[in-house]
Amino acid sequence: MGKSYDVAIAGGGIVGAACAEECAAAGLSVVVVEPGPVGGGATAAGMGHIVVMDDSPAQIALTNYSRTLWMARAHEFPADVEYVSAGTLWVAADAEEMAEVERKRAVYEAIGVRAEVLGPRELAEAEPNLRPSLAGALRVPDDAVVYPPCAARYMLQRALERGAVVRAGESAAQLSGAGIKLRDGSFVPAGIVVNATGAWAPSLTPGIEVRKRKGHLVITDRYPGFVHHQLVELGYLKSAHSMTADSVAFNVQPRKTGQLLIGSSRQFGAEHGEIDANMLTRMLRRAQEYMPALAALTAIRSWTGFRAATPDKLPLIGPCPQDPRLYLATGHEGLGITTSLATAKLVADQLLHRTPAIPVEPYLPGRKQAEHD
């Protein structure tokens, strides 16, 4: 039997990397098991929008906390993390959605998240390529954009500098509170084991309620200045919230390179990663409805990724009820880039018995999940 670690983490996505960094910073000995490139799973597929979302009080608490952590670290990231404080515009199509903008602003204001309402003219000035005659938008200026694989690599790098170990190219076959059994049969003993394998988590911890939710994205050639904020239709929340139908929503992000990343789609039951021409078309049509000038831009690539979705849309962070030394850090759906830093804090808080900055109960794996919809 090899050396025993304080913490053994399965998965080197952004969540595993953030947990490794946080635990190593707290002085724990850490090992990360990752079969592929760091951040090569959903982290490579995600948009990298750091965003406060208000689907439920627990979601807004987690995203707001985590965004604060990102903001506090903005200055330390190397250039390839591409942290840009672009801000979000929640775009309202009509008067009904404008009412929603007002409601949202009040919610954000109540928790100290800066947000301002833009009328139709201000919106057109802020984003001239949006279609005319939209009703307005909510601007959330401190939301940001990052390049997730390099953010994950950076966090893991920091963990390594503090003595963490990466078992690259190796794969976990079995997890228990006592350690990780690798595919090659060897065993990595540990005091605490963290399952941070994203959408793969149920294969290592059977029975947890995590399902794959497929998404498509398209990236364009470089068009600097074409879009300034991350633009999301207000209906996005409906799209993300619904657990039943396939859905698309207008979601466009300016990259630091001048490229545009266009989303988004959500599908359950699609197990394979190939492009679904039908979804891609629907998604791009939706984007063009909001931004007709997109039509003439050149797309250079499309891809898909899998979000790890839970019934109540909140991640699973903390010990399994049946094995208190086996932790879960998964189920982040479309927000795992945003919430990676807070997840890492909450994992370390629990295993070190520190007082967390926000209550952990809504995210505990043992909670009773109320399924919406």
Partner: protein, 417 residues
């Protein structure tokens, strides 16, 4: 309902031969190419100026009512037996019973210091520019790389009054001699080669020679060459480089055809691993004009169901394949070329990624994710082959759009229910 029996992608020699032969059997045939004129890499020229054998094939394709769809690039395969094509003014979808992939090859670039300077270009690329009007008269040109393409380009440049300083061929003299002996078994080729040599009289042809650096302030001014112990600098206006060719396999990969060794795998009827999909010409391996033609003919017959007629051409194909093997052997890029780029030399010019950064990764996917190598508009079509040569990494899967495509083209067609 399919729009045609046989759809041919690519109107180079292989595609023209395939379309003509398929149409001769009475099949309805359409042929698409992303260029305004048929002819492919070798025969492409302004309309009406195509060389004689090109004109013959183009003429007979026309005579047999091959529907010619010009300036149309295939970018996706949205449903079984259908492909999507982007034209400059719109998008269309085409259905077929059988498909022939005659997508040809592109040049292989190998990075060396200065290779991204303006006026350092592909050998075939410079030729294509000259054909479409770039004046080369009196320009000092150095041609470097490997293979018969260098000679063809030199000849063309010379005929257009360029001042071709020299041809730097990386292969050894002895490899070429051995190749020359094998050529003797191919009278047609021998004559072509001799003819080329004659036309080149006066252009130094240096074997075991390659560029080590291109220099210049805002654009190319000179190239430093190396041959054995000697290095020297040649002033020039253009440096035309071509280190062999790489098959274009994107569409084949998109359709799920099996690839082998970087080219589309085919059986004796030129059929790919997918039953109604055929492939011919350089997409199936680099072999030159004659092989492309005969493979195209076989694929055309086979795709139209005339496999007996296809069979009569097998012997000819075997001969040209032997030639292709000899060619590949003689002009294989040498190990020494791997030492040309320095750590700070760009490998990916779309995203400005240096060799040093790429080398620090463990493989192509990690390099892509962590350095953006291959993520730009060329999607690895340029750097992929270079990285494969330098580091032995194969690039990963293809997805639609396989070529940069306007968003409106991706959304115009009705999504299938």
């Amino acid at each position: 309902m399919p729009d045609c029996d046989v759809l041919v992608i690519g109107a180079g020699p292989a595609g023209l031969a395939a379309a003509t032969r398929a149409a001769e059997t009475g099949a309805s045939v359409a042929m698409v190419d992303d260029n305004p004129h048929p002819g492919g890499q070798i025969w492409r020229a302004a309309a009406g100026k195509a060389p004689q054998d090109a004109a013959r094939w183009i003429h007979s394709a026309e005579q047999h009512q091959v529907e010619w769809i010009a300036g149309a690039r295939v970018f996706a395969a949205p449903a079984p037996n259908r492909i999507a094509v982007e034209k400059f003014d719109g998008e269309l979808e085409l259905g077929y019973r059988s498909l022939i992939l005659a997508t040809g090859a592109r040049e292989r670039f190998l990075p060396f210091p200065g290779w991204t300077l303006p006026n350092v270009m592909g050998a075939g690329g410079l030729q294509a520019l000259a054909k479409s009007g770039l004046p080369v008269e009196g320009k000092k040109i150095v041609i470097a790389g490997s293979g018969p393409l260098l000679l063809a380009v030199a000849k063309y440049m010379k005929e257009h009054a360029a001042d071709v300083r020299l041809i730097a061929e990386q292969a050894t003299q002895s490899a070429l001699l051995a190749f020359g002996l094998r050529l003797a078994a191919h009278p047609g080729k021998l004559i072509q080669a001799v003819g080329l040599r004659a036309a080149l009289l006066g252009i130094p042809y240096l074997t075991s020679c390659w560029p080590v650096a291109a220099e210049g302030k805002d654009k190319l001014e000179a190239v430093t060459l190396s041959r054995g112990e000697r290095t020297w600098t040649e002033r020039c206006d253009y440096l035309a480089c071509g280190f062999g060719l790489v098959p274009n396999t994107e569409i084949a990969a998109l359709l799920g055809c099996r690839l082998s060794d970087g080219s589309v795998a085919v059986d004796e009827q030129q059929q790919t691993s997918i039953t109604n999909v055929y492939s011919a010409g350089e997409a199936t391996g680099i072999g030159g004009l004659e092989l492309a033609l005969v493979e195209g003919e076989i694929a055309g017959f086979a795709a139209a169901g005339a496999s007996a007629r296809a069979r009569t051409l097998f012997a000819a194909r075997d001969r040209y394949r032997k030639f292709a093997e000899a060619l590949e052997h003689a002009f294989a890029p040498r190990e020494e070329l791997k030492a040309l780029p320095r750590e700070e030399t760009l490998v990916c010019r779309c995203e400005d990624v240096t060799l040093g950064r790429v080398r620090s990764c463990t493989g192509w996917r990690e390099a892509k994710l962590h350095t953006r190598c291959g993520m730009g508009p060329c999607q690895g079509r340029v750097c992929g082959a270079a990285v494969e040569f330098l580091l032995g990494w194969k690039s990963e899967s293809v997805r639609p759009p396989v070529f940069p495509t306007r968003i409106e083209s991706l959304t115009r067609t009705e999504p299938p229910a």
